[in-house]
């Protein structure tokens, strides 16, 4: 394969460098901004070298933002906490609901199972507002609007198809005879499920769980419609924050950094499984 000429290799090197700059620069630049004061940010021309400050993060953590109009109380940390609560609860619920269902779909061929699996899959690609807008009216009637439970429930639309289809693939890859052998050794189907099927599908369950967490965390539109300020996750909170804090750009950058750090760390940790997860198990990395 690799009989490339010197010119070819130089071309590839330059192309890769450009790719890296385009995709990495925004992350690096925002990270740098988050350690700068507003004066440093507004300086023209911008400088790479500056004296870093933690003031932006301190302001965010204390919830006291200095703005031109005086001190402003914004509980960005609460948004961060909401994101943790909503995403974790959604993933735990989706795993509890989804793993047994994925097992049923993989092991028993029954029509209702296929119908459910494909309905969830096709709604993964339907416009979310189509479901969300009528749901918001129902939620108002049911009193579920602006509750953690209500939001966690709609997050199942994100997490459940992912978990169902990825974990189902892993269950299908386990020979049913292994479970049969375990049952003949004197174990109930429940024991075969928890001690054979679940451990063997472990990597898939972990991957699906991590990926669902990331997608729930990154979701914007669900909470935009269903949550008010004190239940909002960071994605919606950050937008509100931009409006509220006005020109405190360093603090905005710090808020962005805090919002994306958890998912980026998880993504790096789970990168082995991401290919499979992103394609819902259609491509193995």
């Amino acid at each position: 394969m690799d009989h490339s000429s010197l010119a070819g290799r130089i071309f590839r090197g330059i192309a890769l460098a450009l790719v890296l700059v385009f995709f990495m620069f925004p992350i690096v630049w925002i990270l740098l901004m988050s350690f700068q004061t507003n004066e440093q940010i507004l300086r023209i021309p911008p400088r790479i070298l500056f004296e870093p400050t933690l003031a932006n993060y301190e302001a965010l953590i204390s919830g006291q933002l200095r703005t031109a109009a005086g001190n402003l109380q914004i509980e960005f940390m609460r948004n961060l906490m909401n994101s943790f609560v909503l995403s974790s609860a959604s993933v735990i619920l989706a795993l509890l609901l989804g793993v047994p269902a994925a097992y049923a779909f993989a092991r028993f061929k029954f029509r209702l199972g296929e119908t459910i699996a494909f309905t969830l899959l096709s709604f993964r690609f339907a416009p979310p507002l189509l479901v969300l807008l009528p749901l918001s009216l129902y939620y108002q009637q049911l009193g579920l609007n602006d509750t953690y439970f209500g939001i966690v429930w709609v997050y199942q639309l994100i997490a459940l198809p992912l978990i169902l289809w990825i974990v189902r693939g892993y269950f299908e890859d386990i020979s049913p005879d292994i479970e049969h052998a375990y049952r003949l050794a004197g174990h109930s189907w429940r024991e075969a499920f928890t001690r054979i099927a679940v451990p063997l599908a472990g990597p898939g369950i972990a991957a699906a769980g991590l990926l669902s967490f990331i997608f729930c965390w990154n979701n914007f539109v669900f909470a935009l419609i269903l949550a008010s300020a004190d239940k909002q996750p960071v994605t919606v909170g950050a937008l509100a924050f931009v409006t509220a804090s006005g020109i405190q750009y360093g603090q905005i950058a710090a808020a962005i950094v805090l919002s994306v750090t958890p998912t980026l760390l998880l993504a790096l940790y789970a990168q082995r499984y991401l290919v499979e997860g992103l394609s819902l198990g259609a491509v193995k990395g």
């Binding site: 020979s175 049913p176 005879d177 292994i178 049969h180 052998a181 375990y182 049952r183 003949l184 050794a185 004197g186 174990h187 109930s188 189907w189 024991e191 054979i196 451990p199 063997l200």
Partner: protein
């Protein structure tokens, strides 16, 4: 120990019928091989006994009790799978011990040690399945099936996925190993030699139907039908269409233009319009001497097979037979004209329409 009994078991998947009216009893300590071509329903039969499929009809009894409604874990069955089906995340030791632990047995370590010594896998007990060779996997799977002293032992083509040398060794070892357990053993195989080497009786399954259940040598010598005769023997049985005529209580058939006397106790004595005459290649004698009861033929080709020479013979009417001979018993080469004969005792006659063997079975003769 208990007897395994299948009573008119039936099973179909959609339009495909996998078991039709299958009745079979296996005594404790007996090894019955279920033998048949692939797709004949052998594995489905085992899986119904193990509780992975539910029979549509009939009943399955162990020690006189019906087990069809019991879940697999309560059936007292040990099973070895074709693909081994070891628990990949457990060591060989834990694989073997899993059943004992589930039943809360005592002296688990000692039992595992004894079983693994018997199967010569003590040195790999700490290994995970993926670190084992196929032979070791297969022995681990057998140990796992045997260790709980099950009343019924099911072996689903356990030698299919091991290499030829090991398969040969295991064929010698298995019968004594299985008999130690005094379980009722059903052994599925696609290899008639394996069935004959291991089993006390062979149950021949074709298209979901049991067509013959008998001792190995009986099935070989007196197959119930053309289909069974074809399945046993390599090279497979020679078949010629004949119309035997009874003369003075003796049957004569014209084979390739030569009248041959078919005078043996197991053969019928009345005239038939159309029959298949079957003679196993092992029973065909090739000589240079002609004479009464010999059929002239020409040697078309000679191939070695299992230390024997397989000779392809062509008769004047174009019909072809195979003869399997010891090489030293053959004193002719390819393209030479020879004579073929066979003892009447070796001849089998089958009904042309139904394929069933005509004549008297040895057991009825004795009676």
């Amino acid at each position: 120990m208990a007897r395994l009994e299948l009573k008119s078991v039936g099973k179909s998947f959609g339009a495909v019928s996998c078991a039709r009216d299958v009745s079979l009893a296996v005594e404790p300590g007996e090894i019955v091989a279920v033998f048949g071509p692939s797709g004949s329903g052998k594995t489905v039969l085992l899986r119904m006994i193990a509780g992975m499929f539910e029979p549509d009809a009939g009943d399955i009894l162990v020690g006189g009790r019906s087990i069809v409604d019991a879940p697999p874990e309560q059936r007292g069955i040990g099973m070895a799978f074709q693909n081994f089906a070891l628990f990949p995340h457990m060591s060989a030791r834990d694989n073997i011990a899993s059943g004992l632990r589930a039943s809360g047995a005592a002296d688990i370590a000692a039992k595992v040690a004894a079983m693994s010594r018997l199967l010569k896998i003590e040195h790999v007990l700490g290994h995970r399945p993926r670190e084992l060779s196929n032979g070791q996997k297969q022995r681990t799977a057998l140990a796992r099936a045997l260790i709980g002293n099950p009343e019924v032992l099911l072996l689903d083509d356990p030698l299919r996925n091991v290499d030829a040398k090991l398969r040969y060794e295991m064929r010698l070892e298995l019968p004594s190993l299985l008999r130690r357990s005094s379980a009722a053993v059903l052994y599925v195989t696609q290899d008639y030699r394996e069935a004959m080497a291991i089993a006390d009786r062979i149950a021949v399954l074709i298209n979901g139907r049991l067509v013959q259940v008998a001792r190995p040598e009986e099935i070989y010598a007196r197959p119930a039908s053309v289909a069974v005769a074809r399945l046993f023997g390599d090279p497979s049985i020679n078949l010629s269409e004949v119309a035997p005529i009874a003369e003075q209580g003796r049957l004569t058939a014209v084979v390739a233009g030569t009248p041959i006397r078919l005078d043996a106790d197991h053969l019928p004595t009345d005239t038939r319009e159309r029959c298949w005459l079957g003679v196993r290649p092992d029973d065909v004698v090739v000589t240079r001497q002609g004479g009464e009861g010999t059929i002239p033929a020409r040697i078309v080709a000679i191939t070695p097979l299992h230390e024997r020479a397989v000779v392809l013979l062509r008769f004047a009417d174009g019909g072809e037979w195979l003869a399997a001979l010891l090489p030293e018993a053959l004193d002719a080469g390819a393209d030479e004209d020879v004579f073929v004969r066979f003892a009447p005792e070796a001849a089998l006659l089958f009904d042309h329409a139904t394929g069933e063997r005509i004549g008297v079975s040895p057991r009825r003769q004795a009676a």
